[in-house]
């Protein structure tokens, strides 16, 4: 299993860094777990909507297990759709909330991720360190509590309809001039076509906020649609170095396929949701936020991502719009290839634009208007980028899809607006404290 160890090593190295000082700092536990979940998501190759769902439930479990560490934090039972039960600690007993958080993360992950030996290893390291400094009965009780919360979240997750979408037939995509069809180079069938049917976590319904429609489809060379495609085409033909860097920086395609004859392999990248959780983590580390605050922010960002993807996916498969590469190959240049690999699902609207805007709203709410630098992509060979504020980053992420040749400008702008509304709604409705 030598070659599988890379993610494991990353995760354990993160853990070891803080362990040098004894036990992990409480907030570090949260950061390390989110980092580990991101790693496993990359290893498992989950698509972006499913990745966001995993982040949402793992962070929810950890929040519900650990929120008691800071007085005043409320349960989200009754606030999230269908979230009716979650165990409470025995008020008369002592707990170590770090232990509970680790146990909850581990338990929740065990039913959501596949390569759970990675997260199990992290749990082992954390438990090993905490065992040395926490009384055994407190440790055992806290761990049991965390597991109980994790199981409650597992049950909650199971009720959201996702598992059933896995049992459904593949989506039979209709065929028409404006219809999406499988795109080069993989010509893969559509990814997660039923994710729009999964229960939203904060939104009242998947279509609570209207999405601006795409430009009216036309094959006519003088039409707006043709012009929109030409814009994508022309940008790709006159690409500046900056545009190229922006496109690659925000690519966030979890699975990129490389062809070398018979040798076909996938490059993994962080998913769009993972990217934004990582931005959040960088700010939180900078600000040295507490464990519960970290859980609040991570879970809220995750909810915005999850609902953003769900709402976007619902729209994607309703609009079922043709990707630029197909349109351009059919009508403009049959040999044109976009800078980025086109992800395997319909165009409208841009998922990245949607969830980016939603996540930025949450971060704006917590941290306000502040400049920051993002080094998430250093791992993937791209430089650190600096942004004036979260919304500026979101706007750049949004337009990056046009630079990358995988979206029309309308799909990005509409997604951006849609995402803002979703993010604002999450901020406004999910109450962590009174």
């Amino acid at each position: 299993m030598k070659h599988l160890l890379s993610s494991l090593l990353v995760v354990l190295a993160l853990a070891a860094g803080s362990l040098r000082a004894g036990v992990p700092d409480s907030a570090d536990i949260v950061h390390q777990w989110n980092r580990a979940v991101i790693e496993v998501i990359m290893e498992d190759g989950f698509g972006p909507p499913i990745a966001a769902r995993i982040h949402a439930y793992t962070n929810l479990a950890a929040y519900e297990a650990g929120r008691h560490a800071t007085p005043g934090y409320k349960t989200l039972v009754g606030q999230l759709n269908g979230f009716k039960d979650c165990p409470l600690p025995d008020a008369s007993k002592t707990y170590d909330w770090r232990v509970a958080v680790v146990a909850a993360f581990q338990q929740a992950s065990s039913k959501l991720l596949y390569r759970i030996y990675i997260t199990d290893s992290l749990a082992k390291v954390h438990f090993g360190a905490l065992e040395k400094v926490v009384d055994k009965d407190v440790f055992d009780r806290s761990k049991a509590f965390g597991i109980a919360v994790g199981k409650a979240i597992n049950a909650y997750a199971k009720s959201d309809g996702y598992a059933r979408t896995q049992g459904l037939p593949d989506w039979e995509w209709p065929k028409c001039d404006s219809c999406w069809e499988p795109t080069p180079p993989n010509f893969a069938k559509p990814l997660s076509p039923y994710c729009g049917r999964v229960r939203t976590i904060a939104l009242k319904s998947v279509d609570q906020f209207a999405l601006e429609a795409p430009i009216l489809f036309s094959k006519n060379r003088s039409s707006d649609f043709f012009k929109a495609a030409m814009e994508v085409y022309n940008i790709s033909k006159n690409m500046t170095a900056d545009q190229k860097e922006i496109a690659n920086f925000w690519n966030d395609n979890p699975v990129l396929t490389n062809y070398r004859g018979h040798f076909v392999y996938n490059s993994r990248q962080i998913s769009p949701g993972g990217h934004w959780l990582n931005i959040a983590r960088q700010i939180m580390v900078e600000d040295k936020v507490s464990m519960v605050k970290a859980l609040e922010i991570s879970s809220m960002v995750s909810f915005a991502l999850f609902d953003g993807f769900t709402a976007c996916w619902d729209q994607k498969f309703k609009h079922n719009l043709i990707r630029p590469v197909t349109y351009i190959n059919n009508l403009i240049d049959k040999k044109w290839e976009p800078l980025l690999q086109t992800p395997p699902f319909p165009e409208h609207a841009s998922g990245h634009s949607t969830i980016t805007a939603a996540a930025a709203e949450v971060l704006q709410h917590h941290f306000g208007d502040r400049p920051f630098s993002d080094s998430t992509e250093v791992l993937f060979g791209w430089p650190v980028r600096r942004f004036a504020n979260f919304r500026a980053a979101a706007d750049e992420a949004s337009i990056s899809r046009v630079y990358g040749g995988i979206h029309y400008r309308r799909g990005c702008d509409a997604g951006n607006e849609h995402g803002k509304k979703i993010g604002k709604y999450v901020v406004a409705t999910v109450r962590y404290r009174d």
Partner: protein
Amino acid sequence: MTPPVRVVLTVLFTTCGMAMAQEFGRIPESVSGVRFTNRIVETDSFNIYTDFYAYNGGGVAVGDLNNDGLPDIVFTATQGHERLYINQGDFRFEDASERAGLTNTAIACGALIADLDGDGFRDLYICRRYKPNSYYHNNGDGTFTDLGASTGLGLLMPTTMAVPIDYDRDGDLDLYVVTNGDPRREGYLNPGYCDRLFRNDGGNRWTDVTDQAGIKDTGYGLSAIVGDVNDDGWPDIYVANDFEARDILYINDGKGRFDDAATRSLQHMSQFSMGSEMADMNNDGLLDIISVDMLPRTHDRRMTQSSGMSIYGPFFDSTQRIMNTLQLNRGNGMFSNIAYLAGIAATDWSWSVLAADVDHDGLQDLFITNGTKRDMTDQDYAYSVTTKNTPKARQYLNMPGVRLPNFLFRNRDGYHFTDVAQRSGMGDSAVSNGAAMADLDGDGDVDFIINNTDTVAFIYRNDLKDSGNTALSLRLVGTSGNRDAIGARATVYADGKRFVREVQPVRGYQSTSTTDLHIGLGRIRVIDSVVVRWPDGTQSSHTGISPGRNLVTLTRESPRPWAPAAAERPLLRSVSSVLPAVHRENFYDDFKRERLLPYRNSQRGPGIAAGDVNGDGLHDIILTGSKFNASMLYLQRTDGSFEAAPSGFEQEADAEDVDVALLDIDRDGDLDALFVSGGNEFDGDEAELADRLYRNNGKGRFTLVPNAVPNGLQSGSCIATADYDRDGDVDVFIGGMTVPGEFPRIPRSYLLRNDKGTLVDVTSTAASALSNVGMNTSAAWADYDRDGDADLVVVGKWMTPRLFRNDRGTFVDVTSAVGLGGFQGWWTSVAAADIDADGDQDIVCGNLGENCRYPASPEAPIEIVCADFDDNGSLDPIMTYDVDGRRKPVRTRMTLTQHMPTMQRKFPLHTQYAAATVNDLIPEGFPDSVLRLRATTFTSGVFRNNGGTFVFEALPIEAQFAPVYGILADDVDGDGRTDLLLAGNSKGADGDILGYDAGIGCMLRSIGGGAFAAVPPATSGWSLPETCRRIVRIPWRNALLYVVAVNSGRPRLFTKTDIRQ
């Protein structure tokens, strides 16, 4: 009672199994002096990431370069110059590379030895990838001069091999150069270069005639093999292409042009074709074509090394299959790929394939090299390669590699092969690429020379023990421009047999073998004659030749003109144009709903029925329509043609009608129509699944009788009618085929009694066991016990043929009692007929056939266990097979996890999945709801009725090439015996196999006693490459018409060319 003929075949197998007395001995390099190793040293600029053909390896060329009578050897190298070894005799060689001037170190691929300029000294032509090819002209003094630039043969494009061919029969050698593409490509739109054809104009003047000859192949060609496949005297070319571009079969039209016949002659071909070969494997006088691919042989390798592509992309081509192909030449322009039946379909990364009768038993064996320096299709490796932790510069060094043994397949009977590499001494494990054969020591048998990657070249001496087999070694001497007579065909006639060989030195992969012919003759002591067809199309006959170890030289003396024999007049002639019908199957992808289905359930139709519906005395035809297409009525006109006519079926176009029967349900003297609807497109409660009865107004106009068929909504397969209760009207059995979307649940089947024109479901009272009899495909009524009433035979998939005895109107399952138990198959058709003329009804049953990837036997059955194991709302049918005594999943991890995603948690690695048994997949044990299915035989055959009990006899091998969906028993040749017409094929296999479609139909002539012999299609005229369904026979123009229903195509109609009275 006559004895079964099957015994003959059994005996044949047994005796053959004991042969193969010969062994090969490897000559150590310390003895031979041949120390050549194609060592491939990877660098940061040359590795699998930078050049995906980095490990394609080198070739071997054998030929007498110094005219001393001994074959010399040239090896090509990926890095480093070519190596020439001069044969000193007695397996000792001298490295003469430097003296010869072979110092070019550019990547070399194929090596050709042939006297290209006809000056009496064989030249050397080397194909290269990034530098100009080298045309080393033999100066006759041990040195060579590269004339590439001056002759134009120094082609600068990626080339694999050059093949000599006198395509215009003008007496000199022309050159076909197989080109490739850029193996440094990254994008997905990358056509290769067009192959080249150079015409030899004498005096080393060469003209590129690629365009005017019609050569258009731009695939990534890895080999080409020349031979006269259609026996018209003109050499044809098979080009084996890697990747998307399919293989090409260039038929030489004799006028300087080549036409690609691949798509009309081959049902399918290898996808990642590498080496290729042409040889007559079954001694029928016709050259068969072999192309090798990269399908892994063992379960472990198949589960960890797999390659494929999206079926939704523009490059997907269902005629390309990842498997070796053995294209059996059927003699009428058609080929049948019988690689699964032959047992040679899977030999991993297969480079060279060479045919030779190594044991002189009279049948040509197959040698296949294999291996790759690195397993670039290793799924765990591919998974582990990520750029997320900064690109690892030396990633290529971590790619695993494995050395596997080569294969020596002994030809047992012309159709079945056994790998004997280990016990024959050729089982060394290495990465072997090009290979050549030649009689290096002049002892009358072929020795092998193999170019290995990173291992010293192998020389295997054939130590043929005195097994009692004889052979003939022939050297053909042609004319000055082509002294080695390349392209000549020798046919040895002896003992009523014929042995056909062609002088084609370029065989296999990147290599040149001997121009001498070594023809094993088995026990034959006397040769009647040797007939040589020379490259110019003339022919000479030679007698007085005896088998022996000495080389016999034949020269072109007093040749006579030769012309191909006139085509024979077949027994049946196709008259399909009189019926202007076409069946269009609706596109439905069963696997999108049921990803683990072993086959599609949506391509069952069309059904067919014939009868006089309008009372004009002429038989008319109904063909059922697929979803969205109404079933159609075709009325016969007096001139024998048919025309579509308004029928009354038009409104019910949405149903997928799969069978139809014409029967006088209301006894008003005309034929009413009963349709059974099926398919997999509908859910179990949709009205389109309702079976339908239409009443005839006597004039061929039909009216739907609402709710006349009292069975529920089930997906049916077949109708069988008989007056089982002997009340004077016709009763009906309707078979259920599947529960849509819920394979493998058992659908319901029905017995419907005709009560004065009303169909009454009497299944539960008269035949309760019938209701869940199985996944039916076909049924027949037959009075097997001769008690005067009709008994019922039902066949289907995953079930044994079941017989229900009619006991005064109630039915008793007598399957086991009459000897039908234990034959669980994928039965697709059944017909009752007295095929042995003993007065009782025998049962002919069509099965999947033996040309299938996973054979089934009672000892090693194919099984399915099924439940919703992962609790996500869909059934999970897990098909298993026997792997070394353990039950393992047939489908790959990728397919399984698409349907059961959480299996990824259980098996993060492909190696773990490869090791898993079905119990590891479901470690918690099977729930009570588990469904179990089993198949123990895929052989089509006859259950012969011996006084009320049945004995199974397999149909001849030609009937086993493909599934049989249509059976018609009739005295076709007019000799008074009952013959069988068979038709079939399926394009509905799973996503790995894609199709069971090697069949072209089969006419089996009765030879008495219930035995059959296949009639060659050129003789019978019965050639049906289509996806065929049922066959009906009707009177037609004072003769008979056989009508074959065809899925996704036009029905095929045949009538007898000449009826013997």
